[in-house]
Amino acid sequence: MAKFPSEEWASEYVAKLNSNANYEDAAKRWEGSITLVVRKDAAFDKDAYIYLDLYHGKCRASKFSFAPEELPTPEYKYSGPYTNWRRLINKEIDPIQGILTGKFKLEGSMMTIMRFTRAAKEMVATASMVATEF
């Protein structure tokens, strides 16, 4: 079990993502890095960041940190409070509906993201494959 969020969880997530054929298929034309931002809330006491360099269906590099300045500047940011991340990973929130209902915030080219909603769905499905301890 990997604790979320942590370096160990990020590594396991990337390994699962890179072996997920559905994600590779859905994201084969995707080019762009994204940072998943876990905001502190009543259940988790500090912000955490998972940087993912995503390219043509694979994650080429990743980095976990509690300090954003230690990470490259991403083209996209998907951020939300810890409790909502827990619900997302447990498949209780749809990643796009999560933005539309204000549970998550997305920064970056919205037009591009809207062409890759299936890839977003597969990214969340992959997260739920990681044996996660909250």
């Binding site: 298929d25 796009i96 539309l100 549970k103 919205m110 809207m114 890759f116 299936r118 977003a120």
Partner: protein
């Protein structure tokens, strides 16, 4: 948490007369080339409040691209309207939505209209949709489709802020709709009702509008085709189509629309015709994960068309209506179709309909469905 969003809907006989009660000072009336020469735009102008001014944008093509949609934007900005009125089928209403958006936010491009951002519209104007077809659902939806001519694909714009303020469903506006358009747009509406009912984002509101919308359409469409000037039956189909629009607008489209948009953009086929080709195939594809829901909809089909499965019932109905059941029947040549197959796969795979379709479809499944849709031996 989720939402149910809808315009204020004015429906029934003389619904158009409601326009006179609105505080309209300057209206842009957006309509298409076919309607421009008819009495329809004049009817709308006459229904406006006394003393109001209007500017008619009347050269919208079927399946318009962005340039066609926006080349009157400078004249519109000079006119300074306080209302936009889309009069026509989906192309006219979608164009009205896009002109409304660009007039409100000249600092943005049309591609900024996504549901993920707050656009802050309605600072200068408001939006009315008056459909003259029964099927697109655009009068009730948060979507606008534009054709990207160069890329031969359709772009789906969406924002809750482009849902019209008012949808006017007056049966008088559809009473003379030609048979071919009546059929194609009804097929589109049936597809909306069915796809909205099984979408991953379905909810009790969209369920209710799908069921009632489908019931109204199926109960009255054969009668409309037999007796096109029957106002009561026309009104039922018109209202049913808007209800189907409310369903999918609040739960999203699925795979039949993803594939239909790809096919329609590449081969310039009417939207209703393309989604109708794919609907039975998609119902069969999705059945393993939502067969119980399809069974509920199947029970709504009139006995004359009802088969054991929903896909069979849909095929029976569409066949009776004379709709093309394959891409081949729609007139696309085999060599031309299969030469562009990978582009069709690619275009469909980037539709938002894939994320909300109840069964996951990757490029392998899309290719298979597109191949089967051609008919014959693929």
């Amino acid at each position: 948490m989720w939402f149910f969003r809808a315009p204020t809907i004015i429906f029934g006989e003389e619904a158009l007369s409601y326009l006179a009660s609105l505080p309209i000072r300057k209206a842009v009336i957006v309509t298409d080339r076919h309607l421009r020469e008819t009495e329809t735009p004049q009817k709308v102008r006459q229904a406006l409040p006394e003393g109001s001014q209007s500017l008619v944008v009347g050269d919208i093509d079927d399946e318009p691209n962005l340039e066609q949609m926006t080349h009157h934007l400078d004249a519109i900005r000079t006119f300074e309207p306080d209302w936009f009125i889309g009069v026509g089928g989906g192309s006219s209403i979608d164009t009205a939505k896009i002109l409304f958006f660009l007039y409100e936010r000249p600092d943005l491009t049309v591609y900024d209209a996504t549901p993920l951002v707050n656009l802050g519209l309605r600072k200068k104007s408001r939006l009315i949709a008056i459909p003259t077809t029964s099927g697109t659902g655009s009068e009730c939806s948060w979507a606008a489709v534009l054709t990207e001519t160069t890329a031969k694909r359709k772009h789906e714009l969406a924002s809750p802020e482009i849902i019209p303020d008012y949808a006017v469903l007056d049966p008088d506006m559809v009473i003379s709709l030609p048979a071919e358009q009546t059929k194609n747009t009804a097929v589109d509406a049936i597809t909306h009702a069915i796809e909205g009912y099984v979408s991953n984002w379905r909810n009790p509101f969209s369920d209710a509008f799908s069921e009632k919308g489908l019931e109204l359409i199926l109960g009255s469409l054969p009668g409309v085709l037999a007796e096109p000037t029957n106002r009561k039956l026309r009104a039922n189909v018109h209202i049913g189509a808007s209800m189907a629009g409310l369903s999918f607008s609040n739960s999203q489209i699925g795979l039949a629309h993803a594939l239909g948009h790809a096919l329609g953009a590449r081969f310039k086929l009417p939207h209703g015709k393309t989604v109708g080709i794919f609907l039975p195939l998609v119902v069969e594809f999705n059945s393993p994960v939502c067969g119980d829901r399809y069974a509920r909809l199947n029970a709504l089909f009139p006995e004359a068309y009802r088969a054991e499965s929903l896909a069979g019932s849909v095929r029976n109905l569409f066949r009776a209506m004379g709709q093309a059941s394959t891409v081949s029947e729609a007139g696309v040549g085999r060599a031309e179709y299969f030469a562009g197959l990978e582009e069709l796969v690619s275009s469909a795979s980037e539709s938002t309909g894939l994320a909300t379709n109840p069964r996951d479809a990757g490029t392998t499944e899309l290719r298979e469905l597109l191949t089967r849709a051609y008919g014959g031996h693929g």
